[in-house]
Point group: C2
């Protein structure tokens, strides 16, 4: 089935209506982290269920111990592949309110953008796929593929109830690929397919020394200072070349292929501009790799928090009883967070001087994700995006982790297509969140084409 | 002049009265740091002026921009040396109140101790010298030496106005030696003369990276993390032997003489018990030195505070924009804090990677103090203590700094006799502060004998 001309016409004719509908959803303050917004979170879920039903999809609101999960399903298409679109209808809190130019829950068009909390993350991006389905249904009476929408309300608070839900409904949700639009393009006018995410291993290290804070004059030099030991241990985790020193840390690291290095190097990216935008004159990291390689395809070590002793104004001559740090490694394929935790603990303990006790808390670990760029569905997505955006997507990775992607990969063993319609400056999680209206409509078109491309690729 | 038998008798006869008078002074809640206690601080100063006047001393309350300074002066003794007794009438806040067994400002006798805020620090210790003068005056009608009392009300808040006061009144306060009782004996039944104090150089190091906190997934590995750099810089300040690595740090360090090492080693001190009391199984520090040498006669490095990134519960994947540390070196003769600051800043800057800005704030520096143990007044003090306590004092140092001691040394170029009557477990600055009543009376006797010994030694 080719994309009918009528579909393109339908998208054009209903562009304003689509925007108005998105504004309706954006007016619902579905802030998942704040219990006082619970009614609005539920209202957003219900709005979606009704909206899906109006389009002719079979939709259900599933209760969880937290916020509800919405599942909608298109008409059965025998022999066609099944596509699961994941998204979320919950949003970040809008604070600080006084920094918003227009109120966060009164969507406002300005400079070609739609400003509202959730405009890009993720109501706007998620909605493109619903409108794409609508266009197919309204112009052809059917969909090219079996289509499932899985829209949760707890993404901004850790998706706690999604994984068990997916496990429980594994059969109904089974699919041939997953599509997620909850990320960014590479830049304005440059769409992208994200084929890799880094993993993470996050820790808190607590060192306890004397039973109480001591006077650093009376005791300094004789009593092991937990803060002194903390900086020694943390400093020992990275060598002078920016390499992590934990034994066997690099054992399972998949090298970046020459092909990929060449492709990453050809991306329109200026290291100088990158640092300039962050307000620094330069950067540092693992030697022998470019900035993009270090952000996307190499592991890294970052201290996320330090706490010890006196932190107020002026001076206090205290030898602190306790010192602690939060830190994390970003992981790449095929590093295993659990294996790293064991080696890390052993390494740290081996360096501990007398007079301090060590506790290493492991917060969460997630493996990295890498989607095979040569998979036919990835090629299908590239084709759809090229047609909709007028320019082929670049292939990029992302340095952060999206745990739910790992869940889908593990549960269904299928490719996860990460197709971001957003921009890096969309102010996600910040005041004045926005979504480009042009990208909104291009996203709808790309999604509509994608269903066709996947149908043609087959299951 | 020898100590008349009548003086000893006077001390015995008036022991109870002395305690009652001290209790009067202890009932005045002269907490210098809290403005709401300002009337009580003034009341304590006035109480002292009246008390001195009743004893026949000429006393004055001097206003300062802060709390008043009390100066009292005994009758002129031609040809005799001048002794300046320094003390303070202000006290630490009593919090946490609920931990006091008896109320902090209702002095209570228990187990041979007097419990109250200020009992040992410093009202009780300071008062011994006043009672010693009283005993001389009441039994002989005069004093063996020219005696000046300089009692301030801001010791617990940094003695800000004392140094300018001493400079302004240099001529009236000029003396042949200074006596301070605001410290501890070596242990129960073991009086001590403290002949050395360490100096200090205190810093805050602030590292600034990107203009705002960043996501450690998206940016980790490419952006210099100020917290990572902070631990590297701090860790680089000490080598694997516990030696400070700042260039020329040890250049001016006066070695501990073999004689002193032998004497320190002969003190009744158990390293094992020391660590046990602090709740640790051992300690660490500069290799090649004992615990007492490291605490008293060798420089040390301690981190006093660490602050960076996320310090709350759980995990947050932040790459912090700022990281900072407070840290200090304890100094020994003849290290110069200013020279060290210059070398330190140079050393830290030399290691700074691109992407962070460094600010090094120097809070305060003080040189170490060492009193010549062979000075006749030191011998005089040893003799007085031996007679009063029934056992000769040991010679010790203290690891902390007492900036006012340096002021006296620099202003008057005279020996400062640090004669502590307190005990290490007196709970100075803590709930249930106490002072042994036996030590109180032995202190009075020692002070009375000291005046005689100094008079015999001459000016």
């Amino acid at each position: 089935m080719a994309v009918p001309d009528a579909l393109d016409q339908y998208l054009k004719d209903h562009a304003g209506e689509f925007e108005d509908q998105l504004c309706q959803l954006l007016r619902i303050a579905s802030v998942s982290t704040d219990p006082q917004y619970a009614p609005q979170v539920r209202q957003a879920a219900k709005w979606l269920v009704e909206h899906f039903e109006q389009l002719g999809l079979e939709a259900q609101l599933h209760e969880t111990p937290g916020h509800p999960i919405v599942v909608a399903r298109g008409p059965h298409v025998p022999g066609a592949p099944t596509v699961l679109v994941y998204g979320h209808y919950d949003v970040q809190p809008p604070d600080p309110l006084e920094e918003w130019i227009s109120p966060p829950f009164e969507p406002t068009r300005r400079n070609g953008n739609l400003y509202a909390r959730g405009a890009t993350d993720d109501k706007g991006q998620m909605f493109t796929h619903i409108k794409a389905a609508e266009a197919w249904l309204r112009t052809t009476g059917s969909l090219p593929v079996n289509l499932i929408f899985l829209i949760e309300g707890e993404e901004e608070v850790g998706s706690q109830h999604l994984e068990p839900f997916v496990q429980q409904h594994r059969r109904e949700l089974n699919c041939d690929c997953v599509v997620i639009s909850d990320m960014c393009q590479f830049g304005p006018g440059q769409p992208a397919i994200t084929y890799g995410l880094r993993g993470i291993a996050y820790y808190e290290l607590v060192l306890r020394g004397p039973k109480q804070d001591l006077h650093s004059g009376t005791f300094g030099g004789a009593v092991t200072n937990p803060a002194n030991v903390l900086v020694q241990l943390l400093a020992s985790l990275v060598d002078e070349h920016g390499k992590v020193r934990v034994p066997e840390f690099y054992k399972d690291v998949r090298p970046i292929s020459e092909k990929e290095r060449t492709r990453l190097a050809s991306l329109p990216f200026s290291e100088e501009e990158f640092y300039q935008q962050l307000g620094v004159t330069g950067g540092s990291g693992e030697q022998g790799f470019t900035v993009l390689e270090r952000r996307w395809a190499r592991p890294s070590f970052d201290i996320n928090g330090l706490t010890a002793g006196y932190q107020g104004q002026g001076a206090k001559t205290v030898l602190p009883a306790v010192a602690s740090a939060k830190f994390s490694f970003r992981l790449v394929p095929d590093q295993d967070p659990e294996a790293i935790t064991a080696k890390l603990e052993q390494y740290l303990r081996s360096q501990l001087p007398p007079g301090v006790q060590m506790e290493l808390k492991s917060y969460h670990g997630a493996r990295a994700v890498l989607v095979d760029e040569d998979h036919p569905y990835v090629k299908a997505a590239a084709e759809a995006i090229a047609r909709a955006f007028g320019t082929p997507p670049v292939f990029i990775r992302e340095g952060g982790s999206v745990p739910i992607v790992l869940t889908f990969q593990e549960q269904f063993q299928v490719p996860v297509l990460l197709l971001g319609w957003g921009q890096n400056d969309d102010n996600t999680h910040s005041p004045n969140e926005k979504f480009s209206l042009a990208d909104f409509h291009r996203g709808i078109r790309a999604s509509a084409y994608l269903l066709d491309e996947i149908a043609r690729t087959g299951g």
